[in-house]
Symmetry: C2
Subunit: 210 residues, 2 copies
């Protein structure tokens, strides 16, 4: 991996407006992207999310009207709905600690120290829906970057009615809510946005050295 | 770039607790990472951020007490403070539109259509500090991923007193606030966290297929 390859992938990437509905991401590529979602870093490692991978055509068509009629959710190869917990409970923290013990072993004392620290943060109301959504955006940033490196197009989407998504996908009843969407697949040759120059502020306007 | 390389980088990555203060990221590598920050995707392309790259040792030591005494901010090679606008104004949107015209040309009519759409969203109060912070987390996710691919260690940090950072870095007066930190550099051989197995929920617990 060279620095140039990384920049080339980012310049190739754009928010895909028209996906080619006939093209499907190959299994091995998709498996790696799915694995990358699982490996996404999060605050304290708590992973306050579920990643819904929607391939069912009928279900996706049902989501279009609640996405400002943007067809990407239906025409992509794989639609990722990044859903998060509306509020992290002490039970969620305990589930993570159980998993931690499973993977790492570790003394009950060490785990109790961690529980006290993280539980303290949770008790202060810090682990809100907004906090959980921010974690989902880490997943979003990483996912789009890796997809671009593998030649897969994506489109980050905030323009959807979360309440409708939650209802249709049965998230509401589980204390989850759709945070952000990321359809993935292949750009359609007709997508005129693909060839537009990328608009970024000058480096000197966003980077400051101290 | 193969799917395996991507997963290997993610498994190599961890939240670095102890950086080696004697090691500096080479110029060409850092330049690419900085460029990747500039190229980060954001909602409507608005880039509601400033990335502060802090190398000054004295300034970094000054930040340690406001970071729960975590030394990563002082011992890393480059400290990135991801700062965002507390509220996006119509002037900010216009600055982006000016840049858009500079890069792409385009008719005033087309740009006015964009201004109306984005301005409408802004007028509804949607482009809050929380929204801007979420955009910064896209940058965070992408930055950590790319750093790992280039063999650079990072540590995402939410544990800091934003008010103090804003004051010390002069962000407050500019309508900016520190959203999240990401020190970058090289893990110290003594960091025992580097060798701990990564704790992630089972794939079947976070990925759902529909």
């Amino acid at each position: 991996m060279t620095p140039d390859q990384l920049i080339a992938a980012l310049n190739w990437r754009y928010a895909c407006k028209v996906f080619d509905p006939s093209r499907k991401i190959p299994g091995a590529t998709w498996a790696a992207l799915e694995e990358s979602l699982v490996l996404t870093p999060s605050s304290y490692g708590l992973q306050p999310w579920k990643f819904l991978i929607i391939e069912n055509r009928e279900l996706r068509e049902q989501l279009v009207p609640h996405t400002w009629r943007q067809r990407q959710v239906a025409d992509c190869s794989h639609l990722v709905v990044m859903a998060v917990k509306k509020a992290l409970s002490i039970e969620d923290i305990d589930a993570f600690i159980t998993r931690m013990a499973e993977v790492r072993g570790g003394t009950p004392e060490a785990l109790m120290g961690f529980r006290k620290m993280v539980g303290g943060t949770q008790a202060q109301g810090y682990m809100s829906k907004e906090w959980a959504k921010m974690q989902a955006y880490i997943a979003l940033g990483q996912f789009m970057a890796f997809a671009a490196l593998l030649g897969i197009d994506t489109c980050p989407m905030e323009g959807f009615v979360a309440e409708k998504y939650d209802e249709i996908l049965g998230l509401e009843a589980r204390g989850l809510t759709a945070a952000v969407l990321c359809p993935a697949g292949y750009r359609h040759p007709d997508d005129r946005y693909a060839v537009l120059p990328k608009v970024r502020f000058k480096s000197s306007d966003v980077i400051e050295h101290r």
